[in-house]
Symmetry: C2
Subunit: 410 residues, 2 copies
């Protein structure tokens, strides 16, 4: 093991989840224990903070157990986030030089970055540049995304809590829709631009309680309006309230998004189109073709920030993977992302590992076809078994004046 003494820095990047601050807490906890790490700094707004030299001293901010617990119950990113995409250093090395100027100034030898596949791309480029520098630094990615679409890890921190929110909300909405005896169709749109992992979680309440989504549509399967209407009619023939959950990213056979006509054409800096509106389009379709009461709703931002109903398994694992990132860095690893594998056997158990950053950067893990029952427009038993353990357990949440307590650095 190559001993490397110095300071460490951590940043958070990309879209918020309920579990990013739990991974931050894991990094803080492990860094405080590590004799090789003198001080832990935080980047304000991810890599932007590193570029601009906006560096926070975390030892003052989260000094005690109580604030770490509250941090783990706070949604989004306590350090702020960014969506900055680094150009390759061979095209423009200016920013990389500034970053390394700051790293050297603070004697930072360990860099931890919590993010998704875009953030892992940023780390890949940093690693590449660092190899040409005469400055030893170990760079480790920590996965996070509600979308659960990162390669090389059984699942991603943040996914379980989002899945638990969706399962809970769909269960409650289904109870709400049951109250009238007249036929009705309710179409619920969940997040998931490319992969249907979040849609998968919507199958849980019906499977376990009989009350939930009757139909689930995945972006992995080309969407057919005819099959959708046939599914709805089949369900309506046996019960009056039908709930269909669709992924925001469902597309027709020709590749066009079902939500396309409601898009505003805007896209983010990574070229991803802003989606939304698929459920509204399908609401209009059901109204025209079936004619019963129909409504649509998007679960929207509460999916990724409902910390008050976080999965305890997810938060616990997120803390552990943060600590694991510190551990493997101390062991000498660099250019890696901390990852989770699921052990075989009847009882859910995980192991923490690592994988090369380039296996994750810019790639997407889709829901495997054996998790999708295309005939029934639902999840298979294998799909249910995959997601079930990830939503288990509740965290004790502190409320003050009736509102959950967060730890916010403004």
């Amino acid at each position: 093991m190559a001993l490397l003494r110095g300071n460490a820095i951590v940043g958070q990047s990309g879209g918020p989840t309920v579990a990013i601050n739990a991974s931050l807490s894991g990094i803080i906890r492990a860094s405080h224990k590590a004799r090789e790490i003198e001080k832990l700094y935080g980047m304000k707004n991810g890599i932007d903070g590193l570029i601009e030299g906006e560096i926070l001293d975390l030892s003052y901010l989260f000094g005690d157990e109580k604030s770490l617990y509250t941090l783990e119950s706070t949604p989004a990113c306590a350090l702020g986030s960014c969506r900055t995409r680094l150009q390759c250093h061979k095209e423009s090395s200016e920013i990389y030089k500034r970053i390394f100027y700051v790293l050297k100034k603070y004697n930072i030898r360990y860099l931890f970055y919590i993010g998704g596949n875009d953030s892992m791309d940023t780390l890949c480029k940093l690693c590449e540049f660092s190899r040409e520098q005469d400055y030893e630094i170990r760079i480790i990615g920590v996965p996070k995304t509600i979308d659960n679409d990162l390669m090389c890890t059984d699942h991603t921190p943040g996914y379980g809590s989002c899945a638990k929110y969706i399962a809970t909300a769909v269960h409650e909405i289904a109870a709400d829709c049951l109250v009238y005896s007249a036929n009705s169709v309710t179409i619920i749109e969940v997040m998931g631009r490319d992969a249907g992992w979040l849609a998968l979680s919507a199958a849980l309440p019906k499977h376990y309680t009989g009350v939930g989504a009757d139909l689930v549509y995945f972006p992995e399967i080309p969407f057919s309006s005819e099959r959708f209407l046939r599914d709805i009619k089949r369900e309506l023939s046996s019960h009056s309230s039908v709930i269909a959950v669709i992924s925001e990213g469902i597309k027709y056979e020709n590749g066009e998004y079902v939500g396309a006509s409601f898009q505003n054409g805007a896209s983010d800096v990574f070229g991803h189109k802003y989606l939304g509106g698929a459920a509204r389009n399908l609401e209009a379709l059901v109204g025209r073709k079936i004619g019963c009461k129909v409504r649509s709703l998007e679960l929207n931002l509460p999916q990724r920030c409902s910390a008050h109903v976080a999965s305890r398994i997810d938060i616990d694992e997120s803390v552990k993977i943060g600590a694991h990132a510190v551990k493997i860095a101390l062991e000498g690893q660099t250019g890696k992302m901390a990852s989770i594998s699921r052990k075989g056997g009847d009882v859910y158990e995980i192991a923490l590992n690592s994988c090369p950053l380039q296996c994750v950067a810019n790639r997407v893990k889709y829901v495997p076809l054996e998790y999708i029952d295309v005939e029934k427009s639902f999840a298979t038993k294998a799909g249910i078994d995959y997601v079930s353990p990830l939503i288990l357990g509740e965290r004790e949440i502190e409320y003050k004046n009736g509102i959950p307590v967060h730890l916010i650095i403004k």
Copy 2:
């Protein structure tokens, strides 16, 4: 006190809330204790069940303490609901005769109906018809509505839980929106067709924690696009993420709904227009006139069914008011709605009373102007003080397989 022995029946009506089943539980608990009441029946789907003779025997369904506790944690209406509006019996007495045929058949002497102002109208008409019958029956309404817009009661069961959900969601969404440093505007639409009571609750997180809605717009105040844009710009001048909460029912000075252009023109059987789309209209306005990042979302159905984050105060009071309805019926009252008054003093305390049904039927209680700070587009201290105690406390929720446990009669 006029002793009246016989059976009782309870029904639930109108739009679901998180607390209707808690009031049902209170009625069940008190009826079981009452020596005058032999058996408690339930109407399936409100007054429709009474018309069709679809009657449930509740003693079998909710026999023990554990199922009553679960019932109190189940959103919507365990007995089903309806939106049936009774015509005046002078125009058409057929339905009234059928109802009284069923009431007599089951020897029902006590009728409890949990609902909003439309349901109280139904009860009024039933009472009027009953006075001409040679059959003694006592009819009591139990208030419920997330909208909190019933006259003659300090607040309505179901409002506090919806307010707690909104305060929690707005607090979490505000944390989510804080993560980026670029200017952004987030417009959140909450329910409230006529009155801004739910919008009022959105002021709580900012007041208590500093993180929440910066601006709140009420249907009681004519909406001005110019003032809205001025408010947004003022907020953006001091911080980058601005959160505006609007009531779905906000209208321009000329009486037109801000969400009008997104309406489909449909209305329910009471002639109320389906609303929605105000936030989307304002999103487009901010995009055109200010040009920063802007998004809109509707909190939608989760507002009225998120039992997992119910207000303990609300659920406890809902059980009590159900029991109180039984108590006043046993005392000889009829043609009344059970109601809540708030005692004066520093500590929140309520008394349970009753008021004539016709004071509630078809009337709307608006947010008083002293609760609204028109200058700042926010709530006043008096408004905050009104709503604050209603969201206090959390209930212990049972989860199974990671999902809240409900008591559903399918």
